[in-house]
């Protein structure tokens, strides 16, 4: 192997960070003041989103960012830390979404049915991830990528065919538990000028689970287990020769990553009060995840935060900007089409390719390199 995606977290060197915050971050601190400022900004904005922005669209954007941070971080455990390219990650995302959707639709809108749906989803994901892992992680990386692509597409087809259970192409709409509905008012008076309702509570639930999940993933990649994964990524044969059972470690990484993706899917369904093939299962989401991981920075979980935020913001707001650009260029050949609002993915695709070549560590890797030579 020639190059690693990113300089890995500092091994316990002389400058090991201390303090409760460093402990919370598993001693894998941002290690770049620019990155720290950006991360702090994102966290503050997400934390105060209901009070900073009015209207439902910004809150939806913030919720989507949260869900994708967890999803992308879980994918980074596979891609960035273990060097596995799987295209089946949306399958687990979808299982989480359908778990919640089916349970809440069938068993009624209660916390109990949500828990049952989530638990069954997690169990199914774990079994599937272990099965795929054991079957195909023995084969070469390319085979694994192609097999996961085929399996994921088969699952997407199955989900749209079994319309009796999954609602087919239409998906499932369902009711949330009373505490998460817009009509629920926990406080009589507005808090900081905002009347808190169930929708905002749902947002904070998503944010809390995301933060918890992210910190857990950070702990995983900075544990001895995570170090073995990185060793496997760098040189599989050497890791094997050192006595680590590569297949077992990779399968375990797949399962952990699948579980986190399932939780993300459940959060997505909870926020949308709907789940269908297009919201959690489609291949375009898989491409989005890939873009977010690589642009943010492979092998640095913080990259997931930056990548997801940048991408979702681009998806929501870049189009407005491009619409203006397209109008300004009207009359010229092809140029207006290239900056047409619907072509925003074109530019992120180019950014993606440039990232793979020029900044293998993505934004985060680049920032860290600049400030800690």
């Amino acid at each position: 192997m020639t190059s690693s995606p990113a300089p890995t977290a500092a091994l316990d060197g002389p400058r090991r960070p201390r303090g409760p915050l460093a402990w919370l971050l598993s001693f894998d601190t941002p290690r770049s003041w620019v990155l720290s400022v950006i991360l702090l900004g994102i966290v503050l904005c997400l934390g105060a989103a209901p009070f900073l922005f009015s209207g439902s669209q910004p809150l939806s954007t913030a919720a989507k960012i949260c869900v994708f941070i967890l999803l992308v971080a879980s994918y980074d455990l596979l891609l960035g830390y273990t060097g596995i390219v799987s295209f089946a990650h949306t399958m687990f995302f979808g299982i989480g979404g359908y778990g919640i959707a089916i349970a809440l639709e069938r068993l009624g809108p209660s916390w109990g049915s949500a828990a049952i749906g989530l638990a069954l989803g997690l169990a199914l994901s774990a079994v599937l991830a272990a099965a795929i892992g054991l079957l195909s992680l023995r084969v070469r990386a390319i085979f694994f990528s192609m097999i996961t692509l085929a399996v994921a597409s088969a699952v997407a087809v199955l989900a749209s065919q079994m319309s009796g259970i999954t609602g087919g192409e239409d998906g499932l709409s369902f009711q949330l538990p009373a505490e998460l509905r817009p009509a629920f008012r926990p406080f009589a008076e507005p808090v900081l000028g905002v009347s808190v309702n169930g929708r905002i509570l749902a947002y904070y639930l998503i944010l809390a689970v995301t933060v918890l999940g992210f910190l857990l993933l950070l702990r995983v990649v900075n544990s001895p287990f995570g170090r073995v994964l990185q060793a496997i990524r760098e040189n599989e044969f050497r890791a094997e020769a050192l006595g680590y059972r590569v297949v077992a470690y990779r399968t375990a990484a797949s399962v952990i990553s699948a579980l986190a993706a399932t939780v993300a899917g459940a959060l997505m369904a909870l926020w949308l009060r709907y789940n269908g093939p297009d919201t959690t299962l489609s291949f375009s989401i898989m491409i989005d995840i890939l873009l977010m991981v690589v642009i943010g920075g492979m092998g640095t979980l913080y990259g997931a935060v930056l990548g997801a935020t940048l991408f979702v913001l681009a998806q929501s707001y870049l189009q407005v900007l491009m619409g203006a650009g397209s109008a300004a260029l009207a009359g010229l050949p092809l140029l207006p089409d290239l900056v047409h609002p619907d072509r925003w993915l074109l530019w992120l695709g180019i950014l993606f390719i440039v990232s793979v070549y020029a900044f293998p560590g993505g934004i985060v890797g680049h920032l860290r390199k600049d400030h800690h030579p």
Binding site: M146, I147, F352, I353
Partner: protein, 343 residues
């Protein structure tokens, strides 16, 4: 990478070397499967129709997949953006169909065929040119790292798909099938769609041409030697780089041809159509053995036949049947039907 060479190359031409045994088992699989399906389908004429439809689909998948597997075998490059060449080949028909729409509706067989050949020529020319650029810009910097190859060719796919949207618009475009290829030949109870017969013809032609090129010419010898051991070919003084590029370009052109055939088969164009069939293409390549052209051919027909039979017997399972075929083959032969010895 294992350096154990288990068998001598498939067909060594020097007389004094013992010929490698041909592996008949996977070849026998196709007729066996067809015969097995006969009693299950029950009706002979329906069976003939299904088999022909399967063969036609298999040929088209083979056209789309052969370039990819050849490129992998020779260059050890996996191109996840291969689907772009399929879409591009399909959209290239618009360049021809725009000014020459009259030829498609004309009654003359020759005008229709000329139109199709022109479509194919333009599509293959365009995809070959784009393939050359793709190789230079996207693929060349990432030789040797599979992870980066997958990522960067995926990026190429995204960008190219968006570019197709920008040039030709995002909505699906219907395209007409030339007049003489519409409808079907009817022999008693047996119905054979004309276009499918045509597709089988084109697929067989390309397969035979590829086999002849690979097995009977000097270039073919170099390519096969390159697949077995690129360093050795280079050491013998051949410019393997130029060979690599020409194979990549040829592979792109083949995908373009497959795209044209697929476009007329579906009669609608969408930018994502290449990516949709890529799943099938990957399955076929895995089933056939990564890097093997013959395996790709057998795999294509196998997968398409199973899809057609299952589609008739249990429609809901048709789309998942590919996965079943893949799983069964991988359990039987983990490296695919015709494993390439070097890997």
């Amino acid at each position: 990478m294992s350096d154990a060479v288990e068998a001598p190359p498939a067909d060594v031409q020097a007389a004094e070397l013992p010929r490698a045994r041909t592996d008949w088992l996977p070849l026998a699989l196709v007729p066996a499967l067809a015969l097995l399906a006969l009693p299950l389908v029950g009706d002979v004429s329906a069976w003939v129709t299904l088999t022909l439809a399967g063969l036609a689909m298999g040929m088209m998948i083979f056209l789309m997949a052969s370039g990819l597997t050849l490129v992998f075998g020779l260059m050890d490059i996996i191109n996840f953006g291969h689907g772009v060449f399929i879409s591009l080949g399909a959209y290239a028909t618009l360049i021809v169909l725009g000014p020459l729409a009259g030829w498609a509706s004309a009654e003359s067989v020759w005008l229709n065929l000329a139109l199709l050949l022109l479509c194919i020529a333009v599509a293959m020319g365009l995809t070959a040119a784009v393939g050359a650029v793709f190789e230079r810009v996207i693929v060349r910097p990432v030789y040797g790292s599979h992870l980066k190859q997958i990522l960067v060719t995926m990026g190429g796919l995204i960008v190219a798909e968006q570019a197709i949207h920008a040039i030709w618009g995002a909505s699906p475009i219907p395209i007409p099938l030339p007049e003489t290829l519409r409808g079907a030949f009817v022999f008693g109870e047996v119905v054979m769609e004309r276009y499918r017969v045509f597709a089988v013809g084109v697929g067989l032609l390309v397969f035979v041409a590829m086999q002849l090129l690979l097995n009977r010419t000097r270039i073919g010898l170099l390519i096969r030697a390159g697949v077995e051991n690129p360093e050795m070919v280079e050491a013998l003084g051949y410019r393997i780089r130029r060979l690599f590029v020409s194979v990549f370009v040829a592979g792109s052109a083949l995908a373009g041809l497959g795209g044209v055939m697929w476009a007329f088969y579906r009669q609608t164009l969408t930018a994502g159509m290449g990516m949709e069939v890529m799943v099938l293409v990957f399955i076929v390549i895995i089933v056939g053995g990564l890097g093997s052209v013959g395996g790709c051919f057998v795999g294509s027909i196998l997968v398409a036949l199973v899809a057609n039979y299952v589609g008739f017997l249990a429609p809901k399972l048709a789309l998942v049947s590919n996965i079943l075929v893949m799983a069964l083959v991988l359990i039987w032969r983990p490296q695919g039907l015709f494993p390439v010895a070097r890997r």
